[in-house]
Amino acid sequence: MSNRLVNILVPVISVILGLLVGAIVMLVSGYDPVAGYAALWNGIFGDAYAIGETIRQITPYLLAGLSVAFAFRTGLFNIGVEGQLLVGWFAASYVGIAFDLPMYIHLPFAIIAAALAGAAWGFIPGLLKAKLQVHEVIVTIMMNYIALHTTNALIKVVSDGGDNTGTINASASLKSAFFESITDYSRLHYGIFIALAMVLLMWFILEKTTTGYELKAVGFNKHASEYAGMNVNKNIILSMVISGAFAGLAGAMEALGTFQYANVKGGFTGIGFDGIAVALLGANSPLGVIFGAVLFGSLKYGALNMPNEAGIPVEIVSIVIAIIIFFVACGYVIRYFLEKANKKKEAK
């Protein structure tokens, strides 16, 4: 069984199992799984508005997935996407309301601000990992909460004690009149192109540049990389910075596209954690991230239809997504046994 095949089988089987478990949960709870999944389907494809909103939902998922996947490729676990996203969201919103510039300057400015904010937020755990070998998991989780409180506090400051920055200037907006017209006024915005461009960028960096070559090598084998003359520390930090930048961009999507403002939040958006699911399912490859984002983005949005049409709480989809992650994590057992068989062959 080739590695390629396993890489595809494990996620596929996990998704099927996840949906199955979801059906069982629905049954056990007295709901009709068929009606449930039908409602889910309609929520995604039912009409132009639904399709528009679904694609809009997929947009930040693409970037969050890229963020996690990119870090994974360098052997790092970035659970800080939630926080990096929030600071990106704020940065973009702030630039959006604080300046009045022609669009071809204002919009890129806001987007870059978001990427920089996310990158800075990723830099700290990266630095700690490289220099002090501090595990990035705990640090990024803590940074998430710090980000939540920080952005809330900043929004309060910016809005003079209120809880909303106010709508950004149109010159920084990703809103699309064109999309609005064809999707019955869904919030689908131009950000989808940016997200797809980023997928291309990730692919380019990893597959075409020496930086990508180094990042992958360091992620796979620090020792051989060190012997090959690579600067392991620099690469670790770089990976977290790029990963953070992608997450910050996800925040920009929400700020400049979906909502057009930043508001005080009572909790995380969930996009960051779902980004982990996207990356895992997509086996950390750019193409896989597209599939993962499409799947989870659709599920997340389509779920909103389930209470209306089938009386089922939206959380059923969160359960399904969590089960899928769980199975993907356990699916590595197959890979493990494969590797073990290979190792035995080589040791002789």
């Binding site: 590695n3 075409k208 540049t209 020496t210 930086t211 990508g212 070559y213 180094e214 992958k216 090598a217 796979f220 084998n221 020792h223 051989a224 990389s225 060190e226 012997y227 090959a228 003359g229 590797e339 290979n342 035995k344 062959k345 080589e346 040791a347 002789k348």
Partner: protein, 516 residues
């Protein structure tokens, strides 16, 4: 015969590899029985079978005359067999007492009774002259004392038969003396000991009988008092007829690699290379012979920049490369076939093609301005695959999937094609089949014929003798002698490797160890 342990006709296989082939070992009660053999001969495997960590494919084990099946270490413990591991099984931040009683704790009303346990251990320690502090933390005590804790573990569990696996590998000469005294004391108290080692001096000092293993086969058992290091060396090394590598005379010229008074410590801060001097010239292959653990690894790591040296110098073609970064050293014209090809040599998850680019990916034409030119990588990979006979389906195959021999050929190709002035080959044929071995030897000789300097590190005596133009023997962190292959013999090399110069005792660090 009063045998307390008998291992009869033991056969142990790992896949197609036969580690032990019909080996018989008989331990008399109250004796110290040495098990002698080179690296990879199968000594540890045999003992792991006795200790229950491995199950034999064929053969019989008898303890005190009764046939037994030792299915796991607990059974071995119950039978009175204890093992003092080469790599200690100690929890660093526990005390000595805690480590010894783990799994078998003395309790009083549910609480671990450390006080009484410590007292028991203190008594045992005194009884056997072990001098161990029951309340010390493992991370604070010396390696010698740690080993004595391992010994105490076996005694605490009532072991009558103790297996020592290469016990002196990490000890100072002083600690080795102490250990020898302890072993004699143990025998006095009625224990029986199997000593796994390759150090001839210790065998002569302390053992009663010696069983020799070579390449998985039992060669025979001799009484120590009736033999001598020469005979043991020849039994250990064997008189095999290997094909002589065809090569012309060497014509060495200028010095390429010059090492002066190099001192390198290992990760624990212990000196492993102790003021070493070595020169390799253009157009010659210098082979370093020695038994693992005498500083070879640290030496190679220091030369290639993977480890810092404490003092001394390394120059290549006149350029001082001491403590420079690996890339700088590589760019000074060094090629390196690393000892651990999976750790330092390859990124196993990369394709073999991408691995071939590891040293040159940042240079023109492989990349320009930060953009990789993977078609150039393919070209290079294809060339190496062809020229170096790397059997693979293509350069996209993951390195992991290639056999060891082909992985090694790829590494050699990668290094050689850069035309290095100095090629360092560390254990280049480890784990490879005969065909690959011959191929690699040819490549090394080719380099030498092209006027390059080659430094060969090997544990295989025949390899060193066949391939090298000069042989340097490393023992205890220094080069104790340099010889020409045609002026020496395997016996003499075997003796040198074990620290014995003909007609004199080699002393380590200037002190002579006394034989009792």
């Amino acid at each position: 015969m009063d045998y307390i342990i008998e291992m009869l006709g033991i056969r142990k296989e790992f896949g197609t590899f036969v580690a032990n082939d019909n080996i018989t070992l008989q331990l008399k009660k109250g004796e110290i029985h040495a098990l002698l053999g080179e690296n990879g001969a199968g000594k540890s495997t045999l003992m792991n079978v006795l200790f229950g960590l491995y199950q034999p494919e064929a053969g019989e084990i008898k303890v005190k005359g009764k046939t037994v099946k030792v299915t796991d270490p607990n059974v071995a413990n119950d039978l009175g067999i204890g093992m003092v591991h080469q790599h200690f099984m100690l929890v660093e931040n526990f005390t000595v007492t805690e480590n010894i009683i783990l799994g078998n704790e003395l309790t009083k009303a549910g609480i671990v009774n450390i006080k009484d346990a410590a007292k028991k251990i203190q008594k045992l320690s005194e009884m056997y002259g072990l001098n161990v502090d029951p309340n010390a933390k493992i991370e604070d005590i010396s390696v010698g004392m740690q080993q004595r804790v391992e010994i105490l573990k076996t005694l605490y569990r009532g072991a009558d038969i103790l297996i020592f696996d290469e016990p002196t590998a990490s000890l100072t000469p002083q600690e080795i003396n102490e250990l020898i005294q302890i072993m004699k004391r143990l025998i006095q108290e009625g224990k029986s000991i199997i000593l796994i080692t390759h150090k001839l001096k210790e065998i002569m000092d302390v053992s009663d009988r010696v069983t020799v293993i070579r390449k998985g086969e039992g060669i025979g058992t001799v009484v120590t008092a009736e033999t001598n290091p020469n005979e043991l060396a020849s039994l250990m090394v064997g008189r095999q007829v290997e094909f002589k590598t065809v090569k012309s005379e060497a014509n060495p010229t200028d010095d390429t690699l010059v090492i002066k008074d190099l001192v390198v410590t290992d990760y624990r801060g212990i000196d492993k290379v102790k003021g070493l001097n070595l020169t390799v010239r253009k157009g010659e292959i210098l082979g370093i012979a020695g038994i693992d653990g005498n500083g070879q690894s640290e030496l190679i790591e220091a030369i290639t920049g993977l480890r810092k040296s404490k003092s001394g110098s390394v120059t290549i073609n006149g350029i001082n490369v001491t403590n420079k970064k690996p890339r700088k050293i590589t760019e000074s014209g060094v090629g390196h076939i690393p000892q651990d090809r999976h750790k330092h040599g390859l990124v196993l998850d990369f394709s073999i093609g991408h691995n071939i680019a590891l040293q040159t990916y940042y240079q023109d034409p492989i990349s320009k301005n930060g953009i990789m030119n993977y078609s150039k990588v393919s070209e290079l990979a294809q060339k190496i695959i062809n020229d170096f006979d790397v059997r693979t389906q293509g350069e996209h195959t993951p390195a992991r999937a290639l056999s060891g021999g082909n992985q090694q050929k790829a590494i050699i190709g990668r290094e050689v094609i850069r035309d290095p002035e100095l090629l360092i080959a560390a254990l280049p044929t480890r784990g490879l089949d005969v065909g690959a071995i011959e191929f690699i030897h040819q490549r090394l000789i080719e380099q030498r014929d092209n006027g390059k300097a080659v430094l060969l590190l090997s544990f295989e005596l025949d390899e060193v003798m066949n391939v090298s133009d000069r042989i340097a023997v490393i023992y205890d962190g220094q080069i104790i002698d340099t010889l020409l292959p045609k002026e020496t013999s395997e016996q003499e090399l075997g003796l040198l490797m074990a620290g014995q110069k003909v007609n004199s005792n080699i002393s380590t660090q200037g002190e002579t160890t006394h034989v009792e």
